[in-house]
Amino acid sequence: MAEIFKVLIVDDEPGMRSGVSRILNDFTVSLPDIKSEIKFQVIEAETAESGLTIIESQRPDILFLDNKLPGMSGLELLNIIAEKKIDILTVMITAYASLDTAVEATKNGAYDFLAKPFSPAEIKHMVRKACNRIVYKRQAKNLAEERKRVRFQFISVLAHELKSPLAAIQGYLNIVSDRVLGNELSVYDNVINRSLIRLDGMKKLIFDLLDMTRIESDQRRREFAQVNLCELAQKSIEASALIAKQQNIAINLDVRDDVVMQGDHTEIEIILNNLISNAVKYNKPDGKVDIKIAADDKKVVISVSDTGIGLKEDEIGKLFKDFVRIKNEQTRNILGSGLGLSTVKKLAQLYNGDISVKSEFTKGSCFTVELLKNSQEVLRDESSGNNILFKAD
């Protein structure tokens, strides 16, 4: 199916108008970016005044505009179009010698100009160019709208995630303030504890959010150095040790102490922290966490498996998106920002790698992250054009 673009020709010479009409009526443009072909419906106007009426009532896509017209001139019409912010792509038709008019017109918003006399091939070429431009502008506009929508959605979810702990804490403080349970302070222990836990969760959310936005916006300066994965993993295990101990969860680390990669210390730490703390948080009492880090010449493979609550098939698909938390009876009391795994995925991609998961519901999950050992070198090769295997984005 063809898409129809409306073309308005404003010229006081009838021969010119009918000529353009004839050429464009059987002309078809196909562009690589859109599936349908473009065909043209030509509308003719003899004066700028009648042209304006048509522009306002029929909203043509392309305007061929002569400058020398009886009454209002072409340039004057162009000014009105600019003032009224009408979205139309204008091509000025000028006499061969009047380059000044052409320059003036482009300053006032005309897309291009066509000098008289022109051949059918020239006008076809111009129309094709104009179509390209219109389609490109349309796509840019759609993209901008999509961005705005995504941003709005992100902020709405973020606001909800921040409001929930606030409401919970406020509710608890009101209980204490109203002495709902009497004057003895110790009866409020649980209420105060839960408030502190929710505050911690909120703090974690803010940290995670900052981590994630820094990674996404490239604002954080990445400092590449030799990273020892054994040392970093031990540090991450320590961070989760307290909760693991409370639940009697054993953490095993299987890694050679000389496994190293080129990376940013903080980034690799975020990856390990998220994987290990998840494996502990979503485990069961007396459970197990197995961390295996292996490497070959090219890449490092980190796999963290747990004996926890596991995931259902449909949950796996959405797991790596922002703010996704799997909500069910088992996860109800586990706090999380919903940003951890989406951040790990973004980080892994910075190292030309990715994250994957295998899971069995109620039995446990195994998360595997692959990172390229020398992702910086790959990037360098790429910019010098030697390597097309790992193309950025």
């Binding site: 409001k163 929930s164 409401a167 509710g171 608890y172 709902v180 839960r194 109800r332």
Partner: protein, 125 residues
């Protein structure tokens, strides 16, 4: 109706919101049954036939709270239903509370005195 026979169903996906409501309600002699989703809420409703219902508007699914209210009203039930909402959650403007079968909306965090007054007025002790 004596207070202790009064059953209140509270539905919210946040355990601390439920905990707060439970503390306030039980300290004032009511019984509370809780549910973490609209689905669970409907089940509990059928089991316990509560005298008063509190339901969160924004649970996992955006419209879960409203859909719950619709379902409850389809059961031709007259129990008072109040919706819990937090700042910025706007009710679908095209539908009024009464059209939805709601008795009212309470802002989170719920003021305990307001809540207790409403419950008392609605279940006419």
């Amino acid at each position: 109706m004596a207070k202790k026979n009064c059953m209140i169903l509270a539905i919210d996906d946040d355990p601390d919101v439920l905990n707060t409501l439970r503390i306030v309600l039980e300290a004032n002699g009511y019984q509370m049954v809780e549910a973490y989703s609209a689905e669970e809420g409907l089940k509990k409703y059928k089991e316990k036939t509560p005298d008063f219902i509190l339901v969160d508007m924004m649970m996992e699914a955006v419209d879960a709270g409203l859909n719950f209210v619709r379902e409850i009203r389809l059961l031709n039930n007259k129990s008072p239903v109040y919706m819990l909402s937090s700042v910025g959650d706007n009710l679908n403007q095209t539908a009024s509370y009464t059209e939805l079968g709601l008795d009212g909306v309470l802002q989170k965090p719920v003021n305990s005195n307001t809540l207790l007054k409403i419950i008392q007025a609605k279940i006419k002790l």
